[in-house]
């Protein structure tokens, strides 16, 4: 089973879905899917590391917290991220994200993510893999 990410359709915006063998891996892949809404993640060099800590009452809300923490870092640092590491400790998340400053000529960023929503939000184990998904407002 390979960890992977994909987009799913939402009429106005974009659904991001991460799939992995563990919950942490699904969260990492969901973050990659969010970068994929902006640019091709392979075009982003993992040069600089940013640490992220968050928590929430349940794991679905935690996914939204994690993605929103990344949206914030992308916005204030003008960065894009392409590598993620997530450690879960109950409903606390210790994360690290690696990326670089956005360069329009190289990254051709399509949209800026405004925030992660609670629409189509789902974190669940299905057929032996974990799925973490929600819609991001772009």
């Amino acid at each position: 089973m390979n960890a992977r990410w994909e987009h799913f359709s939402h009429e106005a915006d974009m659904g991001v879905r991460g799939v992995g063998a563990t919950l942490s891996e699904a969260f990492e892949q969901a973050a990659l899917a969010m970068t994929g809404a902006v640019t091709d993640p392979q075009s982003v060099e993992p040069r600089e590391e940013v640490a992220i800590e968050c928590e929430a009452p349940d794991r679905e809300l935690l996914l939204v917290e994690w993605l929103n923490a990344l949206v914030y870092e992308m916005a204030v640092r003008k960065m894009l991220f392409s590598r993620f590491e997530v450690q879960l400790d109950g409903n606390r998340l210790h994360g690290r994200a690696w990326g670089e400053r956005v360069e329009p000529a190289r990254h051709h960023p399509a949209v800026e993510v405004k925030g992660a929503t609670y629409t189509a939000l789902r974190v669940a184990e299905e057929g032996g893999e974990w799925i973490a998904q929600t819609v991001v407002d772009v």
Partner: protein, 476 residues
């Protein structure tokens, strides 16, 4: 959707009678064709809004309604604070006070055509657009708060515009009741270098030509004539508004539970208007409205600078500025009387009719200009508020075309370069930092804005005044 699902009130009004937890009906304004094409989610979301505490009259959806977050995009709903009414961050949207502003130029196509490419390049280089772009203005904490309290008035005081602009902006350029202290430090951090930036996604700056006038006398009052060139700016409150949306959505999920409000969808998270969280959100949202008004004012100043260099005889007075993601306290007819209610318009434009006291003198007899942005490279419209719109939908009209397909599908179907070339062949110049962004915003990824506007006109929500078509489009 199947039109058979509705009770048809009139040719353009489709009612969902109250059922289950719905406190009031839901009403969609649309032609039969638009109803058939509309996403089933609009039915579900409009019905969900109708379950919220304190809602009055009905949950409305405009002809461009589509699947949103909790509330449909194109949704209008008003709440009575004395009846336990709520305010919802999702009911306003992430891009608080996203809106459209239109500037006259006094020019005709023949004036612009010889310098169109030069103008496109200059607008693209001087108005920051796209992901990661920053403006030249840096706000220290004191100036940030002054901007959040002062809106476009603040911008004009700092030299970005003229006092005459303020008459032509909703709330005269400054939303009162803003509370900068209710705006998180993160939200302010996101805004520090984003003043005067266009953003990305469906935001744009276009140079357009009036290609058709439907109502000569209202067009005259608006200062629009066949062949006129105008500038249309579509953007919002940038990172600050987005972060406020994020911050309060989260707080409202907890707050709704604390007040025993049952949410059919978490995204409908809300707080009673008469609660600390409700009041704080209103204060923060009003600050974000000011941020959006200041932002469009600064962009206006940048655009005027470009025209001054290239077409120095052009004058660019403001026609009007509307916001289509807001919650505002307004007097409306409720249960035979007039009440102060909180009207959420999410992807819907306020459309005051003739005689409304909040309108500037110039529009008092004809109604408020309602600016409708079409999709990139197609067409936009100017409408006017009607007297009837008050009884129909709290004086509200549509806001745009609405997507017909997701970004995901659009990016797979088209290439940005191909869209740029096709539009260039039709005389429309596109400038954007992202080809993929252009593909996602392809004209055919949106519904036909004309059908939406025709339905709004036929339903009586607003009156069609003029159609505009782009010559230049700067896409974020």
């Amino acid at each position: 959707m199947d039109p058979g699902l509705f009770k048809r009130r009139s040719e353009y009004e489709w009612e969902i009678p109250p059922q289950g937890a719905m406190r009031v009906p839901a009403v969609i304004f649309a032609s039969e064709q638009l109803i058939r094409e509309m996403d089933q989610k609009v039915y579900e979301q409009a019905s969900n809004v109708a379950t919220l505490p304190g809602i009055v009259r009905a949950a409305y959806a405009m002809p461009d309604a589509h699947w949103g977050y909790g509330f449909p995009i194109g949704g209008v709903a008003a709440f009575d604070p004395d009846e336990g009414g709520v305010v919802s961050a999702g009911g306003v949207g992430f891009d608080i006070s996203c809106g459209v502003r239109c500037l006259h130029t006094g020019l005709k196509r023949a004036d612009v055509a010889p310098v169109a490419a030069l103008l496109a390049e200059a607008l693209f280089s001087r108005v920051p657009a796209g992901v990661g772009s920053t403006g030249t203005i840096r706000l220290d904490p004191g100036e940030m708060d002054a901007m959040l309290r002062g809106g476009a008035q603040w911008a004009v005081e700092r030299g970005w515009g003229v006092p005459e602009d303020l008459e032509r902006i909703e709330e005269r350029g400054r939303m009162s009741g803003a509370r900068p202290e209710a705006v998180s430090q993160q939200a302010k951090n996101r805004q520090r270098d984003e003043m005067g930036t266009l953003g990305s996604g469906n935001h744009y700056l276009e140079v357009q030509e009036v290609t058709r006038v439907f109502d000569e006398s209202i067009a005259h009052a608006f200062g629009l004539h066949q062949g006129d060139i105008v500038v249309m700016i579509h953007c919002g409150s940038r990172g600050l508004g987005h972060q406020i949306g994020t911050d309060y959505l989260k707080r409202m999920v907890a707050e709704a539970a604390r007040h025993g409000i049952v949410l059919p969808d978490r995204e409908l998270a809300c707080a009673p208007i008469n609660s600390d969280v409700g009041r704080e959100y209103l204060g923060a949202m009003r600050a974000a409205i000011n941020c959006a008004l200041a932002n469009r004012q600064i962009i206006t100043h940048l655009v005027r600078g470009v025209f001054a260099d290239i077409l120095p005889h052009a004058q660019l007075p403001l026609l009007y500025d509307v916001s289509h993601n807001t919650c505002k306290l307004e007097p409306h007819r409720v249960n035979g009387g007039v009440k102060q209610v909180y009207v959420h318009r999410k992807g819907a434009t306020r459309a005051f009719g003739p005689g409304h006291p909040d309108l500037p003198e110039a529009f008092r007899d004809v109604g408020q200009p309602v600016l409708i942005g079409g999709s990139m490279g197609t067409g936009s419209y100017v409408l006017a508020g009607t007297a009837r719109s008050e009884e129909l939908a709290f004086s509200s009209a549509c806001h745009g075309a609405g997507r017909a397909m997701s970004r995901h599908q659009a990016a797979r179907k088209w290439k940005g370069r191909q869209i740029v070339d096709e539009l260039a062949a039709r005389g429309v110049l596109i400038r954007s930092p992202s080809m993929r962004g252009i593909a996602e915003e392809a004209p055919d990824a949106y519904k036909d804005v004309s059908a939406v506007v025709d339905a709004a006109d036929a339903a009586g929500l607003a009156r069609k005044v003029a159609r505009l078509e782009p010559l230049i489009c700067i896409k974020g």
